[in-house]
């Protein structure tokens, strides 16, 4: 099984969420997701300032074989995006939980973060999907 850091929260769409200060969260896709997609050739990041509802398509990750949406795990306003991915989309493959982060959101209602999965729950979820 791929890496699943225990200090992060997870979604059923294979995104990870790191809670930073001041109701800001950093979002990326999991190691499992990047492995499933294969080599990424393009990442379309959201525009800072745009507001997203929970479940809205926020970014697009495109690999040699597919293009998939990255969804907003909770509602909020985009406060930053990883501009490095423009030139180096492979960062998502090489370091999905670090340099390969995709965007940051200022969360509308921090309580909504409690709905997300823990690392253990996500690990079980990803395994059940494999079956």
């Amino acid at each position: 099984m791929s890496e699943v850091p225990s200090d992060l929260k997870y979604t059923t769409a294979h995104e990870w969420v790191r809670v930073e200060d001041d109701a800001v969260v950093t979002i990326g896709i999991t190691d499992h997701a990047q492995a499933q997609l294969g080599d990424l050739v393009f990442v379309e990041v959201p525009e800072a300032g745009s507001s997203l509802g929970a479940g809205d398509a926020a970014a697009v990750v495109e690999s040699v074989k597919a293009a998939s949406d990255v969804y907003a795990p909770v509602a909020g306003e985009v406060v930053g995006a990883n501009e490095q991915l423009d030139e180096n989309p492979e960062l998502v493959n090489n370091d999905p939980f670090g340099e390969g982060w995709i965007y940051q959101l200022r969360v509308e209602n921090p309580d909504a973060l409690d709905e997300l999965m823990s690392a253990a729950d996500y690990e079980a979820f990803a395994e059940s999907e494999e079956d």
Binding site: F42, E44, S50, E62, A66, A67, D69
Partner: protein, 441 residues
Amino acid sequence: MLDAIGVDDIDGLFDEIAGGLRAGELEGVPEGMPEMAVNRLMERRAAQEGRPLCFLGAGAYPHHIPQAIWQLTTRGEFYSAYTPYQAEASQGTLQVTYEFQSMMAELTGMEVSNASLYDGGSALAEAILMAVRGNRKAKSKRVIVPRAVHPHYRDATRTIVRNQGIELVALDFDPKTGTTPLEQLDAVLGDDPVAAVVIPQPNFFGRLEDVDALTDRAHERGAQVIAVANPTALALLTPPGQWGEKGVDVVVGEGQPLGIPLSAGGPYVGFLCTRKNLARQMPGRVVGRTVDADGKTGYVMTLRAREQDIRRSKATSNICTNQGLMVTAATLYMSIMGPEGFERVARHSHANARALRDELCAIDGVSAAFDGPFFHEFVLRIDGRAVTDVLGDLAGEDILGGLALAPYYDELGDALLVCATELHGEDERKAFAEALARAVA
């Protein structure tokens, strides 16, 4: 089989379709005819069409097509090749597409071309969808489309984009010049954000627009610029990639003038070129050149991850395939003509159109509707006789005299859109001028 699926008779299969919508009996279509009889019938019908001298353009242009083009295009290797899903299997088809893209990018002065679209009208609609997707900063779905853009393109665009919440705003032309004035653009731009502005060159009346000023103004206002260009005219005019300070964002047009016969309106081929940073918003696909493991040149499908078989409802458009055969003809046309030959076609078309306008305007009751430079089409005003009657008389002399504009532009009254290309030398023009003089007398 009907028993197995629980339907009484064949009509039961079509129950869902309302009776009024079903074809029923096709009256007037005979049961069946022997091949020899069909041949005779078709030859008789074809003869009725005659071989008219054609001065009708309006989006589809008669040009000389060298024999080699369709001789090569209809070879089995090209003719039967469908869009290659097993990407590397069809190197010949891929290379033709690659060459087409390279030539179109050079002709339009843009960085990227896709592998073609259906036709000029739907290409404009795709460009508008693309500009709205790509211009998220503007946060607007308002697109400005001059009335001097081909009326059929505007109709097709309206049909395609209207259910996506995109608002098309018309922009009037100057009744004296037949072009789109900058002040008019300013007035329509207003204070609201705009996603894109469409600029035709030449416009539907054959007139050349002030493309630099229009492009810059649109860009100043944060709008993207979509050029609708005639490829033959681009052999002479500044490529849209160099209009104004920054050049346009998307160029579309109809590729029919590139070696494709008029043939009752189709199949034609649309082209769409853009900048590299918008390539991911572009509908369709891109073929690229690369090297294989042994270092030998090969061609591959480079970009098609946004097509509907992969992205479903999130696809950038529903276009997966392309007009491969028309692309082949257009590519052969451009390579056989070469840059010089192609430029000569454009120069002759322009020179013949200028001569024809002077010759026709020398006739009493015929005058030019607009002042200013034009490419290979112009608008005439006919006094004293209805344009449709004049066209009827000309048809009687086996001449297609042009397009009556009143059905599309009521305010122009008895106006006639006329085109000349390299096919219309002195003899052809003289025949037209004499016939027109008789028709308006």
